[in-house]
């Protein structure tokens, strides 16, 4: 039963292509597939359920309205949606500063142009739950002083200068910790996230 369901389920790319052809059912299915995890991400960043709902609404409407312009053969839809969702959340978080207001749009454009490479994303063969556990374990292995600026950057949208200010460290120190932390994470992920 489960196997037949999996066999008949459309891939993300197929759904994406259908959305580009304005098939509402496809958007509905893509929503069912990713809404909870995107909502979790948005909620973690914004810490506000209503704002998180707004982000998801904007995201899926944006996807619907722009699907025809986007690459129908997009590789990892999951990662792409995650980036769009996170960028919107950060943009909302920074909403007070005019210079940063359009960050999401700029980041979207950069991402759409440059990150169409499937290899840049986690292997799809890992299930969401499994990946989640492994990522958590991997993050636990990272020294706290390196993990903190990365979490502040990713989930709070802090710039390196802001992290330096908030943690009473020099900008150079923060830059070094971010760089080192990301490199270490890469090494850990290479081990932990392999199936």
């Amino acid at each position: 039963m489960l196997k037949s369901k999996i066999a008949t389920a459309a891939t993300d790319s197929e759904l994406f292509e259908k959305i580009a052809n304005l098939q509402r059912d496809a958007l509905s299915e893509l929503y069912d597939r990713y809404a909870n995890r995107l909502f979790g991400l948005a909620y973690k960043i914004l810490n506000h359920e209503s704002l998180a709902e707004d982000v998801l609404q904007e995201l899926f409407v944006y996807l619907w309205e722009n699907a025809q312009k986007l690459d129908k053969k997009r590789g990892n839809v999951s990662a792409w949606l995650t980036v769009l969702c996170r960028n919107r959340c950060i943009d909302k978080l920074r909403n007070l500063s005019s210079t940063q207001r359009h960050t999401a749009a700029i980041d979207d454009a950069i991402f759409l142009n440059m990150s169409n490479d499937e290899s840049a994303n986690l292997p799809d063969i890992l299930s969401y739950k499994e990946t989640q556990v492994k990522v958590k374990l991997a993050l636990q292995q990272l020294p706290a002083e390196q993990l903190q600026p990365i979490m502040m950057a990713y989930f709070e949208g802090c710039s390196q200068s802001e992290i330096a200010s908030k943690t009473n460290q020099s900008l150079g120190t923060v830059k070094t910790k971010v760089c080192l932390g990301m490199q270490n994470l890469r090494t850990i992920f290479e081990t932990e996230l392999q199936p």
Binding site: R37, Q57, D107, L122, Y128, F155, C179
Partner: protein
Amino acid sequence: MNRDEIKDSIAAYCLGVLDPEEKKIIAEQIASGDPEILRIYNEMMQVTSALPYEAPAKKTPRRLKTSILAAIEPENKPATQHVYLQKKTPLWNKLSMPFSVATVIALALIIMYSAILNSEIKTLRSQISIGQELMTKLRNQLAVQRQILNIVQFSELRIIKVAGTETSPTSKGKIYWDTEQNKAVFYAYDLPELPSDKDYQLWMIRSDYPDPVDAGIFTVDENGFGTITLDVISDSQNLSAFAVSVEPKGGMPQPTSDIYLIGGISGR
């Protein structure tokens, strides 16, 4: 920014924590297709793409999907602004639409009422105008009746009938003549209306004059009624007939057109 700094900044770039200037530099480097830069970028993106897994999934409210699907309905497609959840709409926003609608309806009603009032005012003005015209006519008729009464009350009253000629066979008239005071009032009935450049002219035919004598000009209303008063009829014994002709505005010394009414004085 030297090459090492660029390589070190790629991680920060993928996390989105660079300043705009730095971000631009790194983006250009990635776009240049430099293999080493691209490799680092892909590695860092892989790490970044794992970070959201740290956030536990959260069940979305059912209304969110409904709201999204409603927002992408074909009739909502042209709208560039997103449809947001109703629960978050401020109270004044909720009230603004009904209030606007009510205001528009109220304005429409006021305009309609104003139009009705204007129409009624026009009608009333028209009725007043008609009433004033009627009053003027009645006053004129009253004046005529008084003139008749003034003449009739004298015993030496003569009534001379004038009749329509072939030119206007249905027309008729009467002259009430106070022979004692030699005053008379002439009434004409059913005479045709005249163009504005014409007048009716009353003539006295007298034995002591070879030609008709001018007795005054008059006009008629839409009913063909007209009147003229003759204050003094001198040497009335020589008067033999009255006649009416149509003449240019203001009258002529002698008749220049056909006679419309004529009546002789008999039985003297």
